[in-house]
């Protein structure tokens, strides 16, 4: 089974890499860069797992709920 977990920093959390990338985009000539946020995209390929188990893995291991939100998509 294949799944993708997208993990983004919460709004209140500093994202210096995002800020640096926004600046770099401005340098490249992009105007009106309002914000850039950088998170993770994790692709999983597992023999089997229930949706609940995957949520569990997202909460316990893949993301840190203090600073990140995750979004789980299951493909098959």
């Amino acid at each position: 089974m294949k799944a993708r977990v997208t993990i983004m920093p919460q709004a209140a959390v500093l994202d210096p890499a995002g800020v640096a990338t926004a600046d770099a985009l401005k340098h490249l000539g992009f105007e009106g860069v309002r914000s850039v946020r950088i998170g993770k995209s994790i692709e999983l390929d597992l023999e089997h797992a229930t949706e609940e188990e995957l949520h569990q893995a997202c909460r316990d291991l893949l993301s840190n709920p203090i600073m990140e939100d995750y979004h789980l998509e299951i493909f098959s």
Binding site: A20, D23, A24, H27
Partner: protein, 748 residues
């Protein structure tokens, strides 16, 4: 089918192919062609440099493992302890992907050290980039490479927990598009635990341990032995990604394995991976090997035999285990959670035999790959020395401005932006790290103090490779002397252009002769090194850069000496002549944009006498600080000595001043202040020892000048005849300390 095309794609000449046919007595398989191609590449066989490398002095009473015998040379440290050290390049991978290229370079040199059974203690690196100043596309590209390389070096060393405590960095247009990334590592081991990279004992077991094999850096060794062209960028293999975590496990596991006594041979899989490690271990052991590729741990199942043989996946080792001892070995692999596999056995037929399941894909006499590799003596261009600099053509620049320009020039400026990205203190052995002449490390297990430095002024080498290479050794030795150390041994990294260009080959040969001469003068062996050829930027070859790293011994902690002035009132001496040579100087480069003239000459006997004299004074406890004169000459050395060692990150350095009188020297002020004549060093002493020191200096018969005194007032003032030049050390410090960070902030 082997075609002329596939032969040339493998970087083999027609004559070389003929030789393969006669060695095999048949046509090679495509796998065999690949094996020959990497084993006979410059990177593995040194075919264009080996005859020249024989000129190095490699013997000595302290040499336990000689250059060329194993992955790294080993020297006696006394009391049953030994050190292994080596420098190695990762230039071409770093040009393509600076972060990973540099990181895997560090990973590679660390493996070379622990393959010897030594625990790696510290790292250094020697770097060269194109110019990073200004708004041009080129400068931006060089900044990107510089930032990526530094971050990559830091990433690997910091993660694995080996401190990076020294190195050198220069910027020059000649390295545009072809940066140099040379990494050095030193490790310690017990003399009776030196591990060998030989497959001994017919019937013994061959294990693979470490990361799974993927398509990384396929044929990278062949790749590193070619020029970088636009095409080579297109047909490049998968970029090698370093995994310091895996290497840390591998390091601990290998040292634990070697401690069991059940390992008869061990070899890292570096360039040319499985091919090189099996061929070399068999050849060194005078044996053969028989392995099955089907058993190799793989990242994906569709890897071909060709790819498995030539992959350069990182963090892998080949371990030869005594038959019957495999259980204890496997327990260690498991503890460290490392993939491993039993690949086959040592055989008695001298062949490198590789199977894929039941099918034989390679069957070559191991010696054919190593001993029979072609050796060439390329054509060397004839050479005549450059015209000496005509001082008439050099307008006198204002020394007050020049000193600021020199101090803020990236090659001379403070490298804190770099070393603050390196963990310098992990391991609890770093006594002096980046920021003084040589790094000093306490080898706690052996209770010994070592100093290490790497040096090469490539401007000198481009103008006169023989003299420049001698100076590289002399300067490295001078840095050791200034830290209170006596040289023990050398390792060198020969970075040159395409050896088929007669000029490049001449440079290579002359530099080797220069290093050999230098090492003989200081009575030290070359214990190993690396050759990197084909360093070509789009415009031309790089400046020849024979980097020399020296390791020295410090007798007692009291003799550790720093470059910074200590107390107001201390008296400053120059040991050596005032000098007058401006050819190839940084003053000429920075203030006049000229890279020309005859570089300074060095008399190695005189140089050594100067070092011995300084060390004598150090031993007597008379020296409070010592610093060599190098790029930028006396004025730069004086300024740097005033800067104090700035310790904490959030704390300004303590600044002192100096009042100097050069007397009635009949020299142009720029010549007096910025010449780069060799064999000169500054040192300071406490005033109450003045007569004692002067007596020693006079007795030595060496030239020296009592220059002046250290002052509390932060001003550097230099009197030359009736003219006085004065700078605020605060302002000089500002120029020197903020330059790199300011340049790099503009990145992107």
């Amino acid at each position: 089918m082997i075609t002329p095309d596939s032969i040339s794609q493998h970087g083999l000449s027609m004559e070389e192919y003929e030789k393969i046919l006669s060695l095999l007595g048949r046509q090679p398989s495509i796998e065999e062609l690949g094996v020959f191609s990497v084993m006979w590449s410059e990177h593995c066989s040194y075919k264009n440099s080996r005859l020249e490398l024989k000129k190095f002095p490699t013997d000595g009473p302290k040499v336990l493992v000689k250059a060329g015998e194993e992955n790294a040379g080993v020297l006696d440290l006394g009391d049953g302890w030994a050190i292994a050290f080596k420098i190695e390049s990762h230039n071409h991978p770093s040009a393509l992907e600076p972060f990973q290229g540099a990181a895997t370079g560090v990973g590679g040199i660390i493996r070379d050290i622990f393959t010897m059974g030594a625990r790696p203690l510290f790292l250094m690196n020697s770097l060269r980039f194109g110019s990073i100043t200004g708004n041009s596309q080129r400068a931006a590209e060089n900044r990107r490479l510089f930032a990526g390389v530094v971050a990559g070096i830091g990433h690997y060393g910091n993660s694995i927990g080996i401190p990076t405590i020294g190195g050198e960095i220069y910027f020059d247009e000649s390295y545009h598009g072809n940066p140099l990334v040379n990494a050095f590592s030193l490790g310690v081991l017990k003399q009776d635990q030196i591990a060998r990279g030989a497959a001994r004992g017919v019937g013994n077991l061959i294990f693979y341990v470490g990361a799974q094999t993927g398509r990384d850096g396929l044929a990278g060794a062949a790749f590193a032995s070619r020029e970088l062209t636009e095409e080579s960028k297109a047909d490049r293999p998968a970029v090698q990604v370093g995994d310091p975590f895996r290497e840390k496990l591998l390091l601990e596991a290998c040292l634990e394995l070697l401690a069991t006594g059940s390992v008869v041979g061990i070899q890292d899989m570096g360039a040319a991976g499985l091919t090189c490690s099996t061929a070399e271990t068999a050849s060194r052991g005078g044996t053969g090997v028989d392995i099955d590729l089907e058993l190799v741990p793989k990242r994906s199942d569709d890897l071909t035999s060709y790819e498995l043989l030539l992959s350069e996946s990182q963090e892998r080792m080949l371990v030869i285990v005594e038959e019957g001892k495999e259980a204890s070995i496997e327990r260690i692999f498991k503890k460290w959670e490392l993939p491993y596999a039993f690949l086959g056995r040592v055989t008695g037929d001298g062949k490198m035999k590789v199977r894929r399941g039941s099918q034989v894909v390679v069957d070559i006499p191991a010696e054919a790959l190593t001993q029979e590799a072609p050796l060439y003596r390329r054509e060397a261009a004839s050479w005549k020395p450059p015209a000496p600099l005509d001082l008439q053509t050099v307008p006198l620049a204002d020394p007050l401005l020049v000193l600021h320009e020199l101090l803020s020039y990236p090659s001379i400026a403070c490298k804190r932006w770099v070393w603050s990205q390196y963990d310098q203190t992990v391991g609890n052995g770093t006594v002096v790290s980046a920021g003084s002449d040589a790094a000093v490390f306490y080898v706690r297990e052996a209770n010994k103090f070592l100093a290490a430095t790497s040096d090469c002024n490539a401007i000198y080498c481009s103008l006169d490779p023989y003299e420049g290479a001698k100076i590289a050794v002399a300067e490295a030795a001078r840095n050791l002397a200034c830290s209170g150390a006596l040289p023990l041994g050398a390792t060198d990294n020969l970075n040159f252009g395409n050896p088929y260009k007669p000029v490049s080959f001449f440079q290579l040969r002359a530099a080797i002769e220069g290093i050999a001469e230098g090492c003989r003068a200081f009575d030290i062996p070359v214990t190993g090194g690396n050759v990197s050829l084909y360093n070509e930027s789009p415009l031309s070859s790089i400046d020849p850069t024979p980097t020399v790293a020296l390791v020295g011994f410090i007798q007692s902690p009291e003799e550790i000496t720093l470059q910074h002035f200590r107390e107001p009132g201390d008296i400053i001496f120059l040991l050596g002549a005032i000098g007058s040579e401006l050819g190839g100087s940084h003053y000429l480069l920075v203030s006049h944009k000229r890279k020309e003239g005859l570089p300074p000459r060095v008399d190695l006997g005189h140089e050594k006498a100067i070092h011995d004299q300084l060390r004598l004074l150090v031993r007597l406890g008379l020296v409070r600080s010592a610093h060599d004169c190098a790029e930028g000459g006396l004025a730069v050395a004086l300024a740097e000595s005033c800067f104090g060692s700035s310790r904490a990150l959030s704390e300004a350095a303590e600044l002192l001043g100096a009042t100097i009188d050069l007397g009635n020297e009949d020299l142009r002020p720029d010549v007096a202040l910025f010449n780069e004549s060799q064999s000169r060093l500054l040192f300071s002493i406490s005033p109450h020892t003045l007569t004692q020191v002067e007596e020693h200096l006079i007795a030595s018969g060496l030239p020296f000048t009592r220059l002046g005194v250290v002052t509390r007032e932060p001003k550097l003032s230099i009197q030359l005849k009736e003219k006085k030049y004065q700078w605020s050390t605060g302002a000089l410090y500002q120029s020197w300390s903020t330059s790199l960070a300011t340049i790099m902030k503009d990145q992107e």
